[in-house]
């Protein structure tokens, strides 16, 4: 089926070569990082994880969110999601691939990455994260590719695929839970040391991931003959509304515990992120305001079901959740440092270029997979 990605209109190839250009630039920058060390990033002794690890965390959520299609379709037999299933799973494939790349570019000695397998350490959450992420990638490739192959031949997917589909449900929850455990089990990092972190991660994932998918579906509808269906998108938007509500609610729970208890350690990171002249303060307020506005627009069905309002709403939601998880989360855990000194963090141009390269790789994978899927679907329809 992959050969369908080799024929396309001019528009398709322009996009592919554009992405390849960015990937190339990102790769060259990465070679520079390999030579110079991670000193070309904005990270420091005090803020020892930065943009790479936060992108990884955000994208694990995007990947996990495919389950928001799988559960209604396979467990509740909501057939309207049928057309979108494969496209949702392909988003997961692209997202997990980006996650793995972000881990690799963050390593100080990437050529030793296999040490994680050579010296397996089940006590380390990173070991489990490696297992669940690779497993999830594998499951989604198998499930989506097999289903698409069946669709091309106009037959039902083979029965042996069913266990993989059911397995993908707890597995999706597990990838984001394990990712939250990377943070939530560390003593002395108050911003992360909270039992609700995994739940918060899942809530923000289940609103931001489907939001990205809805926007993708609208783009695909414009560019190809494939239409996910109005009802399906409205149902997915309802899921986004619930998840976003939970996400905002969970943040309020955190704020209550921190500020009503008045325990300094619990308040420090919030104070740093939202108060004073820290570099992240304007971003965090942008996130808070956009988050609240998007939630307010998602709750009434009149604004939620109006595509003209929905698109900016989802864009706001994606920006809000991205800043929260893709910028504030990691920095907030490290600032103030264990000795209560404040070292600011902001990604450098090099760091952003490498990240852009990883995102372009994900976009290229997604483009190729979507090209194949939409072509197969168009052919099957005629």
């Amino acid at each position: 089926m992959l050969e369908k990605a080799l024929t396309g209109k001019r528009r398709y190839w322009t996009w592919v070569f554009f992405l390849l250009g960015i990937i190339g630039a990102g790769f060259v920058t990465y070679l520079w990082q390999l030579k110079q060390g991670l000193s070309i990033t904005g990270m420091s002794r005090d803020v020892s994880w930065g943009f790479y690890i936060s992108q990884f965390t955000y994208l694990v959520g995007v990947a996990a969110s495919a389950v928001m299609l799988v559960i209604p379709y396979y467990l509740h037999h909501y057939k309207k999601f049928g057309k979108m299933m494969i496209l949702g799973e392909f988003v997961a494939v692209a997202a997990v691939t980006m996650c793995l790349l972000f881990i690799i570019v963050d390593l100080g000695q990437p050529q030793r990455a296999m040490n994680v397998i050579l010296y397996p350490t089940p006590g380390s959450i990173l070991f489990w994260d490696m297992l669940v992420l690779n497993g999830y990638l594998f499951i989604n490739i198998i499930v989506a590719w097999t289903a698409l192959g069946a669709e091309r031949q106009g037959i039902a997917p083979p029965l042996w695929i069913k266990p993989f589909i059911y397995l993908s449900i707890p597995w999706a929850i597990s990838i984001h839970t394990v990712t939250a455990f990377l943070y939530a089990g560390l003593p002395g990092r108050h911003y992360w040391l909270t039992a609700i972190l995994a739940a918060r991660f899942l809530a923000s994932a289940f609103c931001s991931g489907p939001a990205i998918l809805v926007l993708l579906m609208l783009i695909v509808k414009k560019l190809t003959k494939f239409d996910a269906g109005k009802e399906a998108l409205q149902a997915l938007t309802k899921i986004i509304a619930y998840a976003m509500f939970l996400n905002v609610f969970f943040v309020f729970l955190e704020l209550f515990t921190a500020f009503y208890s008045n325990i300094p350690g619990h308040m420090h990171s919030f104070e740093y992120l939202f108060h004073g002249d820290g570099v992240l303060v304007p971003f965090m307020w942008t996130s808070a305001v956009l988050g609240i506005i998007s939630l307010a627009l998602l709750i009434p069905s009149s604004t939620r079901n109006n595509v003209k309002i929905l698109v900016p709403t989802l864009v706001m939601l994606i920006i809000a959740t991205w800043i929260d998880k893709g910028l504030g989360l990691v920095a907030g855990g490290f600032i103030p440092n264990p000795l209560e000194h404040i070292t600011e963090y902001f990604p450098t141009g090099f760091e952003l270029m490498i990240s852009l390269g990883v995102y372009a790789t994900g976009a290229l994978i997604l483009t190729v997979l979507y090209k194949v899927a939409t072509t197969v679907k168009e052919e099957a329809a005629t």
């Binding site: 000695q109 943070y183 002395g188």
Partner: protein, 255 residues
């Protein structure tokens, strides 16, 4: 054609088999005698620990830092974002956050508090390391295998004492007088205080302890009731950093 392919496969198969058998043969039939034996002079302990007597520590004195950083080839990187440090001075309020108050004794407020790896009994850094590159020895010393470290910096996120440094760049140009007896590091790996494991093995006290003229740093075996650290602990009120986190630090402070 057919014949030669079969031949090729046969040889390839036997070769692979041979590769698999060799390590087994090595184990059973290794003739080499033990080349390395522990130094008879080595200091042996069951639970190494340190007491920092902050009353004796003088401002502007950097003897322990210089000794440690010179002996261990710690690079002298000026940019605080990229610096590597094994032992350094902090103010009371930063070492014991939450314990400071505005009426604090001035001598305590202005005194240097030396901080270093606590060689915790239940180290969070060891728990999170995905490759066992950082590990706890039987005598309690938490060590780094610089050749195994992948540079993921999970240990730095886990350490609640900020004791670990990462080599953000190649450290070698920043090492002035290289000590050939101790390895230099490469970029992309984490490092920290090793309680001078290499000196203990030669029967020497840690470099910082030896360098301190004021005897503000005391090192010894916690499980030996007659050791100096035990005597000091039983006759002085001592505190540790962040005991509530359950890592059980092995560096004690007399304030």
């Amino acid at each position: 054609m057919e014949n030669s392919r079969r031949k090729f496969l046969k040889i390839a198969g036997i070769s692979v088999l041979g590769l698999g058998v060799k390590p087994v043969v090595d184990v059973v039939a290794s003739e080499e005698p033990q080349k390395y034996a522990p130094n008879a002079e080595a200091l042996r302990g069951k639970r190494w620990a340190m007491v920092v007597d902050t009353r004796k520590c003088k401002n502007d004195c950097t003897d322990c830092i210089t000794a440690c950083h010179t002996i261990h080839n710690v690079p002298d990187i000026k940019n605080p974002k990229h610096e590597v440090k094994w032992i350094w001075a902090e103010k009371y309020g930063h070492v014991f956050p939450g314990q400071e108050h505005e009426y604090l004794d001035h001598s305590v407020e202005n005194r240097p508090f030396m901080v270093l790896c606590n060689h915790c009994d239940d180290p969070a850094c060891v728990r999170v390391c995905p490759t066992k590159a950082t590990f706890k020895r039987e005598d309690g010393i938490v060590l780094m295998d610089m050749h195994r470290c992948i540079g993921c910096r999970f240990c730095m996120a886990a350490c609640p004492f900020g004791a670990r440094s990462f080599n953000w760049m190649d450290p070698r140009p920043f090492v002035k007088d290289e000590n050939a007896k101790f390895p230099t590091r490469m970029k992309g790996v984490v490092e920290k205080c090793n309680f001078c494991a290499e000196r203990l093995a030669e029967g020497l006290m840690p470099a910082c302890v030896e360098a301190c003229k004021d005897k503000a740093l005391i090192f010894g075996d916690l499980e030996d009731p007659s050791s100096e650290v035990r005597k000091i602990l039983s006759s002085n009120y001592t505190i540790r950093r962040k005991p509530e986190l359950g890592t059980n630090p092995m560096v004690y402070y007399i304030v």
